[in-house]
Symmetry: C2
């Protein structure tokens, strides 16, 4: 990876944006709200690993130049990237506004500012409009999504490490399970184990769901105890250098019933189908259709109630879904999940989720935890 | 607390909004983006403890009625609030748009929709404008901030529990410290300990900073080892029922130098000054001025580089700062931090942070971990 990835990433965004919107964009301006309303593209462009940067701004130009506007509070954190971009420190909101107006208003007759509507709050947009009354605002969010969707080597290395951490936590998790342990305790154990293995933190609120709770895809762990015969579903991930992994494994605690085994094998097969279908040039919708149609040929028709997957990166849900709702085509170096599931309210559910990176000829699976049916 | 807090919270928002904007608002409409761009007010109004609700919407009416639009994926999670609001399930984005248009367009001659510009993405705003071309959009974000800033009993109970968890973790943390342990390991231990004590998770990325790193207020833990004579700064918090706590304690590992002791005592005194100044009826700016002026009377003038505090709630930074930038007056049942610090690049920093709730006659400190200088 060459030294200045900030410049490379900026040029990539401009290239896509200008081909999308068919007009000149003078600069791209990002502005963070307060946590959690931070623009993750701020971190994509800067590569800053530490710091929150609430209320901070970033301006990037077509030639790859970037200026980061930071408060005193994060100045030290920002300066870690000073070889890649200019760091400008503001005293307060008014000072920032004054500097943004002065530094960026290249022409009093108007200029065009690319904004990231997906991650810019409407309030911040209104403030920018007041600051630059003659500017034309152009939404470049789809260019940013597309740029971020195809990862560079440095990003893939971070996600790979995040996926390795999550995978290594899985056998430790199995050893930790015992009669009567709560979802709650297991979730705490998983998070601690991932941090011990080098994670910056969990990439989202860890899901541990026992028994019928496993039928609720976005369940939150509670005080529910593990009992023989339960499905136990674990959906979790690590953050490493701000990049996320996202894995799901489901096991049976005790001996699997015939039905549990049957559901598991169908989901297992669907997961493999999804991975095999993920190749350069196919449509995301085709992957989903292969997976969902397969499940619909079984007696569990209609029990797969979400997309087959989603891209992963700085955000766990990093811009696109593996579903016909996303019209795009799979490209080399995209990273996304394949996560079919079958959910039966009152009984439970099985989901098997992997993170894959698309290589020239096939998908490489980054989450290496075992996928055969495990009876703990 | 009466059963239907959703209705009470909605009525509170409408009351403030209508007195702020001096016009009739037909409904308030919230729309979530994808994680992390979720409107926390969605959770304030619904009180839903589980679920992500990406892309979901909520409509509330002046009479307290609320409709929650959820995808199939979160239907089970949403139904947990069915005694407080109506749950409407959509199949996909288009279906949601169709339903929103049909359910909410009360008059084809136009109506006024309150939006939360602080937490609504600009993209979602543009989509709403297309959906309701005749509607008038009114920003009610400041009313939402104000409503959320004064907590009800149920909210205070959750924050109190979150603060207790963080406080109880502190002595365990001290026992865990030893020569050569990394910031990284300590941060993992803190998170696990809080979860063991009942936290849903950390309320933000835990800061553990040794030695000179403690001079960087928003530092992220690294592979740095604890050595005798270092300041060790811990800034962390627990999430409990989605509500946050936020505490900072600084200790000296080994015997404190004269200068370390001096810095610590000034910050300790500043912390107490801030707490004592926090009373019903004072301006937030007055509290900050008392604290910062005190520090500026010492030889560490200019070394306190951030606000004295911020409100805490569903967000760690829940709307207002304890600083002249916030023009508001302190009211009963506000919850905020008091967190003075002194930072000396190259040497280190001290911060002492508490969460307090404003009662009729005084501030109640929720974070009960000890504050005298500890030499570990």
């Amino acid at each position: 990876m060459p030294a200045n990835f900030t410049e490379q990433r900026i040029k990539k965004i401009f290239k896509i944006a200008e081909s999308n919107v068919k007009e000149k964009i003078d600069l791209i301006l990002l502005k963070n709200g307060t946590e959690p309303h931070l623009d993750l593209s701020f971190f994509y462009i800067t590569g800053l690993e530490a710091g929150l940067f609430e209320g901070c701004a970033l301006a990037s130009y077509p030639d790859g130049e970037t200026r980061v506007y930071t408060s005193k509070l994060e100045e030290q954190s920002a300066l870690k990237g000073k070889d890649r971009f200019q760091v400008i420190t503001f005293k307060d909101r008014d000072h920032l506004a004054k500097m943004l107006k002065k530094d960026l208003a290249r022409s009093s007759n108007g200029f065009s500012i690319g904004i990231n509507s997906n991650e810019l709050t409407h309030k911040n947009f209104e403030d920018l409009k007041k600051l630059y009354p003659k500017a034309k605002f152009v939404d470049v969010s789809s260019a940013i999504v597309m740029a971020r969707m195809v990862k560079d080597d440095q990003e893939i290395a971070a996600i790979k490490q995040a996926a390795q951490i999550a995978s290594k936590a899985f056998p430790k998790l199995l050893d930790f399970l015992k009669d009567g342990i709560t979802e709650y305790k297991v979730s705490a154990f998983l998070n601690a184990t991932m941090q011990d293995l080098g994670a910056q933190g969990p990439s989202f609120d860890t899901i541990v769901a026992f028994g019928e709770n496993s039928a609720e895809p976005h369940y939150s762990p509670r005080d529910v105890k593990l009992r023989k015969g339960y499905f136990a579903l674990f959906d979790y991930g690590a953050k490493f250098r701000r990049y996320c992994s996202d894995i799901t494994r489901t096991v049976v605690y005790g001996k699997a019933s015939k039905q549990q085994r049957e559901i598991y094998q169908i989901v297992r097969e669907a997961n493999q189908l999804g991975i095999d279908a993920s190749r350069v040039g196919v449509k995301a919708g085709e992957i989903h259709q292969k997976v969902s149609r397969f499940i619909d040929t079984t007696k569990y028709k209609g029990r797969f109630i979400h997309s087959t997957g989603h891209t992963v990166g700085l955000a766990v849900h990093d811009g696109a879904v593996i579903h016909p709702a996303f019209k795009g085509t799979i490209e080399e170096n995209m990273v996304f999940t394949i996560e079919p599931g079958i959910y039966i309210p009152g009984l439970g559910g099985v989901r098997i989720e992997d993170d894959i990176v698309i290589r020239k000829n096939k998908a490489e699976v980054l989450t290496t935890a075992p996928k055969e049916l495990i009876e703990v």
